[in-house]
């Protein structure tokens, strides 16, 4: 085992499209990385992007990052792996990213093998999985339902490193993958070359957010992981940032409920014996992480379904009498709306008042219930089965609140200040997460077959 040359994995940015300084990237390339990998996605921005098939990142910003990465990697002949393409990693996000890759290849005359790996799961196969008991709820989530599956516009599964390795074995130089377990794109090449799976995955877990694990942290700067047979070393290439035990260990907490046990496809990363060690002022070495395979292979699903259409109106209130009575006024407006549109089916629309300056940020979790602000921001929101109905409810609630008469009112010209004309904005279709469950699969690779072509091929 000893004597294998250490291998370097470069993570230029936390999310493809978040950018990185070109000076950092050039310095990182100067360290001769063996692979460049980027996690392009997250479910954090909410269900809309998956449900609507739209990226939460900007096309020009993604193209800028990809252009620099692809040119450098093809020049050196090192592989590039992009995971969770287009943010949510479903087919439209994948196609959107591949379109950018082909545009760059044409423009820069790049050649090489391109593997595209979809992560979509069909709703018909999921209904079978549900019937077979292969869909497992993740508490506090509730069991999946036929209705939620059937209504989902897109469902993706987080692939492990195995489908990426299958594409590498087929000769892929550039891999654009749909939804991935975040560390997979960083761990695939090391695992393929025989390095320890636990260390490779743990290194990927930290690299996936690029320089966020350094101090001062940044999601828009490069991080390099160097893996050997007993551990890995993390470093930045920007002299303004360093990796410290505190910054790296702190990142292990981020966005997870148990920092010692990190479940993923095929098993669990166990960090009980992990050691973080400061090798020099800027670099941290990590050892001792273990991988515990699960009984059966499970992948995590993410699905989203449409739940209606939204219209919002933004207003402000400054009058102390209005602010003191805002709850009574809201109740009065709500009653007027319900009465005026009692012909609209109950349950086909919802009206929400968000009171910024009181509890709009924390909602039911807010411990300070008394309003103390001298002005309030009010968002009037309607969600309905049809866009027209959302427009109607929002518009009527807005005009009613503007002119609502209440005891002691002195400002009889209007209760609200509107920053915009038009005052109401259509926010379009609204989505909700429909699935966040585990799916039992027979093997890690077959649900994620790759499509191989040449970078220089026309789309």
């Amino acid at each position: 085992m000893m004597g294998r040359p250490a291998m370097k994995v470069l993570s230029p940015t936390a999310i493809l499209g978040y950018g990185f300084p070109e000076t950092s990237f050039a310095a990182a390339m100067g360290l001769s990385p063996d692979v460049i990998a980027v996690d392009a996605g997250s479910s954090d921005p909410g269900p809309y992007y998956l449900g609507a098939g739209v990226s939460f990142t900007n096309r020009a910003a993604v193209k800028r990052d990809l252009l620099i990465i692809l040119k450098a990697a093809r020049e050196r002949g090192i592989p590039v792996l992009i995971g969770s393409a287009g943010g949510a990693g479903a087919r439209p996000h994948l196609d959107w990213t591949v379109d950018i890759v082909r545009e760059i290849a044409r423009q820069e005359k790049l050649t090489g093998k391109l593997a595209v790996i979809p992560a979509d799961v069909s709703t018909s196969s999921l209904l079978d999985s549900l019937a077979d008991g292969d869909l497992i709820a993740l508490p506090p989530g509730t069991p999946a339902t036929e209705d939620d599956i059937a209504a989902s516009t897109y469902v993706v599964a987080q692939m492990g490193e195995e489908p990426l390795i299958a594409a590498l074995e087929a000769g892929a130089d550039v891999i654009i993958a749909g939804r991935c377990y975040d560390p997979a794109v960083f761990a695939a090449v090391p695992i393929h070359r025989g390095y320890d799976k636990a260390l490779a995955l743990h290194m990927g877990k930290i690299l996936e957010c690029a320089a966020i694990a350094s101090t001062p942290g940044s999601g828009s700067d490069c991080m390099i992981g160097t893996l050997d047979d007993t551990g890995f070393v993390l470093e930045t290439v920007n002299p303004a940032r360093v990796c410290t035990v505190a910054s790296v260990a702190a990142h292990t907490l981020y966005e997870k409920s148990d920092p010692y046990r990190l479940p993923g496809p095929g098993g669990l990363l166990d960090l009980h014996e992990t050691r973080f060690e400061q090798v020099d002022p800027g670099r941290v070495r990590v050892t001792g992480s273990r991988f515990v395979p699960s009984d059966g292979y499970f992948v995590k699903l993410e699905g989203a379904r449409p739940v209606g259409y939204r219209t919002v109106s933004i207003a402000g209130a400054r009058g102390p009498d209005f602010i003191a009575k805002v709850d009574e006024i809201i109740a009065g407006v709500r009653a007027r709306v319900e009465d005026n549109f009692r012909d609209m089916p109950k349950g086909s629309w919802q009206l929400i008042f968000r009171i910024y300056g009181r509890d709009a940020v924390m909602g039911v979790l807010e411990p300070e219930r008394a309003t103390v602000s001298h002005e309030l921001g009010i968002v009037i929101e309607a969600v309905a089965d049809k866009q027209d109905d959302a427009d109607t409810i929002c518009s009527f609630a807005r005009s009613t609140m503007l002119h609502f008469g209440y005891p002691g009112r002195v400002s009889t010209a209007g209760n609200l200040a509107f920053p915009y004309s038009p005052s109401d904005m259509k926010a379009g279709q609204v989505y909700a997460f429909s699935l966040y469950h585990l799916l039992k699969v027979a093997d890690p690779v077959s649900p994620f077959p790759f499509e191989l072509s040449n970078l220089e091929d026309a789309a």
């Binding site: 954090d44 921005p45 702190a250 907490l253 966005e255 739940v307 919802q350 924390m362 411990p367 997460f433």
Partner: protein
């Protein structure tokens, strides 16, 4: 009276998946981390009183020594992004923790 915000370098909240909200308290040094552990400063009853949630909605409270950190995780009031959501990323729910005090010492 020593407040958590005096002895922690990080107090933050964030989603841990769409169903959970997780709070991280990273102490400035090992001594305050040990003291917080010794007196069981961050406990389920405290989280319930700060956020008005039921005890069964406190999913886990874990001390993570490599980072001098204590982490608490609760069930989100709504699945992230559901109609009525107030904070899709869950990044602004940490404030009640800032004023937690170390008893009367």
């Amino acid at each position: 009276m020593t407040r958590l915000s005096d002895v922690a370098s990080v107090i933050r909240s964030k989603n841990a998946g769409p169903y959970e909200l997780t709070f991280d308290i990273i102490f400035k040094d090992r001594a305050w981390f040990e003291e917080a552990k010794r007196i069981n400063l961050i406990n389920a009853a405290l989280i319930c009183s700060l956020y008005g949630v039921a005890e069964e909605d406190v999913i886990d409270i874990i001390a993570f020594e490599p980072a001098n950190a204590i982490k608490a995780t609760i069930k989100r009031p709504l699945v992230s992004g559901a109609i009525g959501e107030t904070d899709v990323y869950g990044a602004q729910q940490h404030v009640p923790l800032l004023s937690v005090t170390f008893g009367s010492e």
